[in-house]
Subunit: 487 residues, 2 copies
């Protein structure tokens, strides 16, 4: 007889009744071949004693097996596995996979059961987004023309072959020039890796920097996808308060006195979600702390290009290049989100290792697209695009904020952002944002429900409201719907 005592596992605390558990165990033994067609099952009394359950429970289990077509009962002889087994069971017990691990075909780890589904997918309805660019402003057609034209030209054909996992050499030179002109960040192509958007930069840096139970300092409120990336690496998140001047570096210093920190993640321009900009004083202090305590700064500067009121601060990386700072930027966030292009800047050794890791992840980017972007950077189209967008976005910001002031004075508290593409809006405590989001959708407006901005220590009744992707008439319509719901 088979060692049923160890083969048949039951759990009295399970919500699945005991006889179903026993039945499922037998189905597994049959489908995995341990029990063969025509094999006899142990007598109900014997099995009951072996596995310590009531004999009637075993009988019920056998009845269920017979009913489902796995076994047959032959009078005075016993219960046998069906001699001619069906290929596939017609009915599967509904709780089988949830509660009886023996039914899972193989073992894997799902770390993402509670993942918040991504929001702001493409929709054909009016949308107040998280702060995305208006794809209607981007010179997409110029890019596509280059893309197609490159692929037709003889010399462009080589870009269809495998290329470097760091990205097109030409594009890295173009990005290098752009970083130097726009933000005083002087680096060579070997300090640059072309990513698929800033998220890949965050992922690569995380994997190189953080091991399980390493500490990383992040904002009390923070970009959820970055937090999730750090958690995925097993890192321990230390939350640092964010006030009107950005991350509280004095608080960080106190933590550093007692804990080893491997990295600090900052969004110094227009912190996500709250849009505050880190002061120059704090930037310098953070750099000094990094040197003193030898931690890396992951500087996510995806929002550098749109700053309305004065010149943006230079990145931390441009003060301290190639030393403690890993600098991450995005073109997807300023051009069109679905065209995944970003960059990561660091020491050449760090970039080299990141490129090796990237080879394991997706081998390389779309060289042809990178080459096409390089043309737009080189011929000044990207700069024209940034200048034009900046002007339009500033008008939109002003218009949007004046509407918020006039129409939502007692409902929404906000500060006009110095840059970026969204207004951080604190809703009156009496307003249920989740319900508001649901009701808006019924009226043809998509607006987020705020869950994406919350974490275990930050649960303000707030939302980012993107103004950049809406024309003034669209803002009037969108905020009109919101006003009706809230009044």
């Amino acid at each position: 007889m088979l060692p049923y005592k160890s083969l048949i596992q039951t759990d009295r605390n399970s919500s699945v009744s005991l006889y179903i558990q026993v039945c499922n165990s037998f189905i597994s033994l049959i489908t995995n071949g341990t029990l063969q067609p025509s094999d006899i099952l142990p007598g109900s009394r014997v099995l009951a004693e072996l596995i310590g359950i009531n004999r009637n429970t075993v009988k019920l289990a056998y009845e269920e097996l017979v009913n489902q077509g796995w076994a047959e009962s032959i009078e005075r002889k016993g219960v046998f596995v069906l001699s001619k087994l069906p290929i596939r069971a017609k009915t599967v017990l509904p709780q089988a996979n949830k509660n009886n691990s023996i039914q899972e075909p193989f073992i894997w780890t799902n770390n993402f059961k509670n993942a918040i589904p991504s929001k702001n997918l493409q929709k054909n309805i009016l949308t107040i987004d998280d702060g995305f660019p208006d794809v209607r402003l981007a010179p997409v057609d110029l890019l596509m023309r280059e893309y197609r034209s490159l692929s037709r030209r003889f010399h462009g054909r080589k870009f269809l072959h495998y290329g470097s996992s760091k990205g097109s050499e030409h594009f890295r030179v173009s990005i290098g020039n752009y970083l130097s002109h726009s933000r005083g960040l002087t680096v060579s192509p070997e300090n640059i890796l072309i990513t698929k958007g800033s998220q890949m930069g965050i992922y690569l840096a995380t994997q190189l920097l953080l091991h399980p139970s390493d500490n990383i300092a992040v904002g009390m409120s923070n970009y959820l996808s970055a937090d999730d990336t750090f958690k995925y690496a097993g890192a321990n998140l230390l939350r640092i308060p964010i006030d009107d001047h950005g991350m509280d570096v004095d608080y960080l210093e106190e933590i550093l006195l007692r804990s080893k920190i491997k990295a600090v993640y900052v969004i110094p321009h227009h912190h996500l979600p709250t849009t505050v900009t880190m002061s120059a004083e704090r930037r310098l202090k953070l750099l000094n702390l990094a040197k003193e305590y030898r931690f890396a700064i992951i500087e996510d500067d995806f929002d550098f290009d749109f700053h309305y009121d004065n010149k943006p601060y230079l990145p931390l990386a441009s003060i301290d290049h190639n030393q403690n700072v890993i600098y991450i930027g995005s073109i997807s966030k300023t051009f069109a989100p679905a065209l995944r292009i970003g960059f990561m800047v660091g020491s050449s050794a760090f970039i080299e290792a990141a490129a090796s890791l990237r080879e394991l992840i997706d081998r390389q980017g779309d060289t042809l697209l990178e080459e096409a972007f390089a043309v737009l950077f080189d011929n000044g189209e990207m700069e024209r695009h940034f200048r034009k967008s900046l002007k339009i976005y500033k008008q939109r910001r002003n218009f949007f904020c004046s509407m918020l002031t006039s129409d939502f004075n007692d409902k929404i508290e906000f500060r006009m952002p110095e840059g970026g593409l969204a207004v951080w809006s604190n809703f009156d405590k009496k307003i249920d944002i989740i319900r508001m989001s649901d009701e808006a959708l019924k009226k043809g407006l998509f607006i987020d429900n705020g869950n994406f901005y919350k974490n275990e220590s930050f649960f303000t009744n707030g939302l980012r409201m993107g103004f950049a992707s809406l024309r003034e008439n669209e803002m009037v319509e969108a905020l009109g719907i919101l006003k009706k719901i809230l009044h």
Copy 2:
């Protein structure tokens, strides 16, 4: 006085001279703020005693510090940190980062120091590659026309926004139809994730399946990038022999009797590198073993589309769909390598989790490109492309193999592959492939040096020689160069 004894670290075995090491240590103390402007340095006699080196060495170090502009020597008073420090040292000692760990700005782990650099980058010279498609055959311009045209159309504009991390819904339906027609693999869109080439499928599956010290079974010879992906996850690789019928599943079974295996990675069509196809009998046995021992099969079927002599076997996944098999395929490998498109098929729960992980890695693919490919699948262009290519590649295989037979009879041993785009070529033991590769390059031919195919248990003097990307006249030229070198 500062605790110089612990602050100044020297290494007598280093190739960097001692005085430079001391000098570099002081530069670190100055740049990290431990030593402030105008601080006095310890007397040379005192320091020499403290750290146990010759006093003259300390003097030399101080001279170097003064020369580099970090310190000033004031007669009869001593050496002081410069009161007005330069922002940046003009000269950095070349060996500083390599040998003096105190100079490293932060701690990170480089798992990729010994990575074999990717081969077969785009080159404008004649190339015998690893088995890549001929990009000149792919209907790239049709694709580009769709790509551009979609981006201009009103309804296409939505594909420039954020989309699903699983890939375009439309494209997943098209791929579903293609899988069903071409290989009897009937799945729904929720079983499909669009990747950036098969490598991303391998990476995602690995991350969900394997934890540090988990076992994965792989071929004795195997695709190096897959091996590296498993190793990166900390997995333990168990090597299974590959013979003329593919992976030796009896050997695998013996291992399963004593060891728990989480997953088996197979390339059942045209194993990489050796191009053998797994027999039907072994396929069924592998599936049965997977059920019995509850392991996952990662089926990398990147080469399904090109099979010349008879109908290809159906994938393992089409016999056992949604159960033990995670099925990975590639369009980059049949169209153009730089256009990164592939797919992964699995249970909806597995695909859902993989999509969540993918959000952390690069958020999503290029939706517009996916939509453009969907059009090419829907209107039959892709099928035409496959049919046309298959015919041409078969001719090229035959021509290439006949040249190998006639011109390299005593130098290269090979078997004509049933499918795929490369010939596994075993070179005579007397031939040094690395030198051959170097010499070929000098004569204008790029051919790999074979290191990519070796691992700790496989070191045949072999090479994959891709025939598909070469026209007959190019083959004559390429093999002509090789012949001259080897004779």
